[in-house]
């Protein structure tokens, strides 16, 4: 097992398409993020891959299975498996989303947004605290892309995200692409969103590509990062300073070299823009 010092620079989301290449070529990537739900409770090659990569690179765990906003009880089976994986593989960071993914034993495996209300903020914050206590680690909470808004919301998404992080005393994984996508879909100002984020809680950035569906943007992680997302990333670095940054690509996964090129662009921005950070 390699040492678990804090990570920096630009990591890449590890996908099955690149397992063999990464093991063979050992590319110079400072860290990888694994979608931990794909490995929990499984043996064989799946577990072997996780073991191998944990010995080669610092890893971060990223999941959707906590369903932190759901009104179901926290899933003990999932948390047990996650806790076991954390103890075994010692990830540098553990993250999940500010959303819910199912209710009453039906799972949609999608990131469903919360209504932005006082009740919802306390509900999800209480569950984050329970999860953190159970796992024995502070988690990073990621803002999600959304395509709908509830009438009962009485605060903005940015206010809600910041409020929940404070209530739950958790870290923040700021997904720049998600901010841009939601800002387009709901006609809000992405820079104003950034201005409301709790700087000291931000531990990581995510970057990905969206799909333009004419009247809305869809967060598909299936294309290169778009120019306005790069611009927003620059704004974020100027505002918050450098943080570990991840390139995500889940659909139409290209050659690893394409991800490295995206990572190179992000590295350049981290180097150039962080000098402006307050």
């Amino acid at each position: 097992m390699i040492t678990r010092d804090p990570i920096s620079g630009v990591g890449i989301g590890l996908r099955a398409e690149h397992y063999e290449y990464v093991k063979r070529e050992r590319p110079s990537i400072p860290w990888f993020e694994v979608l931990i739900d794909n490995y929990l409770g499984h043996g064989g090659q799946i577990q072997r891959h996780l073991q191998d990569f944990s010995e080669l690179y610092p890893l971060t765990f990223h999941g959707v299975g906590m369903s932190l906003g759901s009104c179901d009880p926290l899933n003990k089976t999932y948390l047990d498996l996650l806790k076991q994986a954390i103890q075994t593989y010692q990830p540098v960071l553990v993250s999940d989303h500010l959303c819910w993914t199912g209710f009453q034993h039906e799972y949609v495996h999608d990131l469903l947004p919360m209504p932005y209300t006082e009740e919802a903020a306390h509900h999800v914050a209480d569950r984050i605290k329970q999860a953190q206590d159970y796992l024995g680690t502070q988690i990073l909470l990621e803002n999600v892309s959304s395509y709908m808004q509830y009438q009962i919301s009485d605060m903005s998404e940015a206010e809600f995200v910041a409020y929940v992080c404070v209530l739950a005393d958790c870290h923040l994984l700021l997904d720049i692409n998600n901010i841009y996508v939601s800002a387009f879909n709901h006609r809000f100002d992405a820079n104003e969103y950034l201005s409301l984020m709790p700087t000291d809680r931000i531990q990581e950035f995510h970057l990905a590509g969206y799909e333009d569906q004419d009247d809305h943007l869809l967060d598909t992680h299936g294309q290169a990062i778009h120019p306005p997302v790069w611009e927003l990333f620059k704004d974020a670095i100027k505002r918050f300073g450098a943080r570990p940054t991840l390139i995500e690509w889940d659909n139409n996964v290209p050659e690893f070299s394409v991800l490295q090129q995206e990572a190179g662009k992000a590295e350049l921005i981290l180097d150039q823009e962080q000098h402006y950070a307050a």
Binding site: G41, H42, Y78, Y147, M148
Partner: protein, 245 residues
């Protein structure tokens, strides 16, 4: 309020209930359109999972038909596990009753075989068990023992040579398979990192079914004239994960 909202949303997403639409803010986008974006994403995610699990079935049916059939299945079958890898487990039962594919009499068993392969690939390994103490047991002790099959293992009996159909459709459309080749009895399982499909004879298959159904070795011996031979084969191949009294 929050539980009711989530209940309404799930009913809207999975069962096309319209109640949730009144809860959505439609100033920018129509409520139904907002819900449809999530419906499409939900269906697309599960469809992708099924395409990963059932590539041979997709090859046999063609992409368009397979996807339409999967979407019908998805409409009827909400995902009930946090682990998306568990989705599609009863696709074969759905296919049994899906009249448009009735003519493909072997299809449900091909689907069972693909699910068994998927299960074997991801099953957890039990710790290695020491069977050597069996040599010191007397007949009475042996008769009261139970064996367990490897957790990765599925026993599949089919009237059709589904393993040959599976092999012939691994990458591109393969050679034709004689459906009159007779019933095939299959053991789908994994050792280490390698998954296998073993063809076994009916008698040995029935022996494994006895083991799977948690009968003692004594009961199995009374019903299987080739008991000792079968037990030796099972032990030699590593089909058993452990034994207990």
């Amino acid at each position: 309020m929050l539980p009711e909202l989530q209940k309404q949303f799930m009913n809207g997403l999975l069962r096309k209930d319209a109640l949730i639409l009144k809860q959505l803010d439609s100033q920018i986008r129509d409520s139904q359109q907002q819900l449809n974006i999530y419906r499409n994403s939900y269906r697309g995610g599960l469809l992708k999972a099924m395409k990963d699990i059932y590539p041979v079935t997709e090859q046999l049916l063609g992409e368009t038909f397979f996807e339409a059939m999967c979407l019908r299945y998805i409409e009827q079958t909400p995902c009930q596990s946090f682990d998306i890898n568990q989705y599609g487990a009863n696709f074969s039962k759905f296919t049994d009753a899906f009249s448009p594919v009735k003519a493909l009499i072997y299809l449900p068993d091909v689907i069972r075989l693909e699910w068994a392969w998927h299960h074997a690939y991801q099953a957890t390994e039990p710790p290695e068990h020491d069977f050597s103490p069996l040599l010191n047991f007397d007949e009475t002790q042996l008769a009261s023992l139970y064996f367990s099959l490897q957790p990765s293992m599925t026993l599949l009996a089919s009237p059709y040579p589904v393993d040959l159909i599976w092999s012939a459709n691994q990458i591109t459309e393969g050679e034709s398979v004689n459906l009159d080749a007779g019933p095939h009895h299959l053991v789908i399982w994994r050792t280490g990192l390698n998954s296998h499909i073993d063809t076994v004879d009916l008698e040995f298959f029935n022996f494994l079914i006895f083991i799977q159904n948690h009968h003692t070795l004594g009961v199995i011996q009374e019903n299987d004239p080739q008991f000792e031979e079968h037990l030796a084969i099972g032990l030699q191949r590593g089909y058993f994960s452990h034994y207990h009294f």
